[in-house]
Symmetry: C2
Subunit: 327 residues, 2 copies
């Protein structure tokens, strides 16, 4: 099918750019040095591409993502890098399952469900999950006392990965990883799991990097000057044209908006409504023309769509289900 024949809005993956992004990351972080985070694309077909490039393990943010990867045969080493208070669905998976814990309650949830492996999640500066570094050792002892195998630590420098200034990003990442190493000394284990797309090459401490956005990218990450290019956009149709602006059929239900407005080539975006984007094009557009709408944040954009169309030379070469949505 030609891309022109698609109904809009349609989520499009630029096949070549995706391929370049995947290879660039695999060259930088080969094999188990990268544990791709699937929350950024929620798509087992894309995860399979990542696995074929030699990355044996995956990072997940939800139980549904874990279930989907396991069902797709990608369950060699799945990490739920998030806390859960009910781990029973994880225990039912035909996969190697590791779950993050940061409290006695989440530890007990893992043990009660019959899971065998955990990572101690350490707060390294982002006010989100993770125990204080000085509590990590005691939590690991308690986990071992409950029969769990403690594989090591994880700690996400999420307050650092998006900083456009590289030296500042490096400095904060290094500071966070010092905290994680201190916790690791108390916890033990082989794994120090951390990082993201923004720190993939400046986090030199983690044994594995949990990057996800690098595959599809977005306009927010693109500002960092990384060697990955935006490979995901929403194809939209111009449905109305006025003197100073045009309107296309891609709105708030097709775009994650937390990082701000999307971008349109050769245009200034004014605002989005539920099913519209109003923008001022720099060249004259006609009703029926197609435009490419680039999301500011890829993760919550993908989660709105049932499928992605993989496009090369204006042809749809594959259709991938966004099959890891929901919880």
């Amino acid at each position: 099918m030609r891309i022109d024949a698609l109904q809009t809005p349609a989520l499009i993956v630029d096949a070549r750019r995706l391929d370049e992004n995947l290879r660039a990351m695999s060259d930088a972080l080969p094999g188990p040095r990268l544990r791709p985070h699937v929350k950024a694309h929620k798509c087992t077909a894309l995860a399979r591409r990542q696995a074929r490039l030699g990355h044996p393990g995956f990072t997940c943010a939800t139980i549904r993502e874990m279930e989907g990867l396991a069902a797709a045969g990608l369950g060699d080493d799945l990490l739920l890098a998030n806390e859960v208070v009910d781990a029973r669905r994880l225990a039912a998976l035909d996969a190697r399952v590791t779950v993050a814990i940061d409290s006695p309650e989440t530890l007990d949830a893992a043990a009660d469900a019959g899971l065998s492996e955990v990572l101690v999640d350490v707060n390294v500066g982002l006010p989100r999950c993770g125990c204080a570094p000085e509590q990590a050792g005691a939590l690991a002892d308690r986990a071992r006392a409950r029969g769990l195998r403690v594989r090591g630590v994880m700690g996400y420098e999420g307050h650092a990965v998006g900083l456009p200034d590289r030296s500042e990003r490096e400095r904060l990442t290094a500071e966070s990883m010092q905290q994680l190493l201190a916790a690791h000394a108390d916890v033990g284990g082989d794994v120090v799991s951390a990082g993201g797309t923004g720190s993939y090459d400046c986090n030199r401490v983690a044994t594995e990097i949990q990057a996800g956005s690098y595959a599809l990218m977005d306009t927010a990450y693109d500002a960092l000057g990384l060697p990955f290019r935006p490979a995901l956009y929403v194809l939209a149709t111009v449905i109305s044209v006025a003197r100073s602006y045009a309107v296309a059929d891609c709105g708030l239900k097709a775009l994650g908006m937390d990082h701000g407005k999307p971008s349109i080539d050769e245009a200034d975006v004014w605002f989005c409504s539920d099913e519209h984007v109003t923008f001022a094009p720099r060249r004259k557009l006609c009703v029926g023309e197609r435009v490419r709408v680039w999301p500011a944040h890829v993760d919550p954009t993908v989660a709105y769509h049932e499928r992605m169309r993989v496009v090369e030379d204006e042809r749809v070469v594959e259709t991938w289900s966004v099959d890891l949505r929901g919880w």
Copy 2:
């Protein structure tokens, strides 16, 4: 099932409040005076409630919404209040279909597909779809020349409906409706379709009001002091507690963020990540406790969820599929 047994995040409808909101609106705008907009809830089960209260017609924003209502037997009078350049799927519906047109191209799309009825969409101040008021008459003539029945006009005062100051909202609504009436004089037909939840009682010109948000409401609309109360929240589980904040499992993929952060009872919300909300609670919370996360914008929140749980007295009394998602 008790609400405690739900996995989280879970989209919850407060049954009593929904019922009160539906009745309050039906009392104010009985029968065909209200044409409920389904984009706000994307749920045929909820639309059926609205139909039972005596509203014969519905407003839609997408072809998928039109298809879903028709398939659910709610197709007595469906308005697609939006422009399309390919109307063939609409022509296949077993329903009375009216589509908005604002250009020769969208007019031709309707005629080419074999549709019979249109409304002329008029720009009344919001820079989005709609022709200029002075062009409406010529468009109607052209539509009739192509064999289409022109039912009247529509024009959405979207720049007015969200203004917290009531007098300003009234003033702008009246100004917009003057423009719509001028266009209507040139177009003819029985229908003057306009309005939204914020102008439901100050728009005295429209023959029918296209309100949708009133049913479930959100924190943005709640600031207007209307007689509708928020009836939709995301139930979330506290998964981590630190000294000054807590984290629950409801993030960017469970909430529309374009109107800003969600609210949590007795807490200050700091920020959302993909699957987390970090907040400072005013009372001590424990891991495993549940919190209610109130979205700032209902429409893009609902579009993330597969289903809504209708809850009364802490019990799930119905489960509704959000079956009008996608395009």
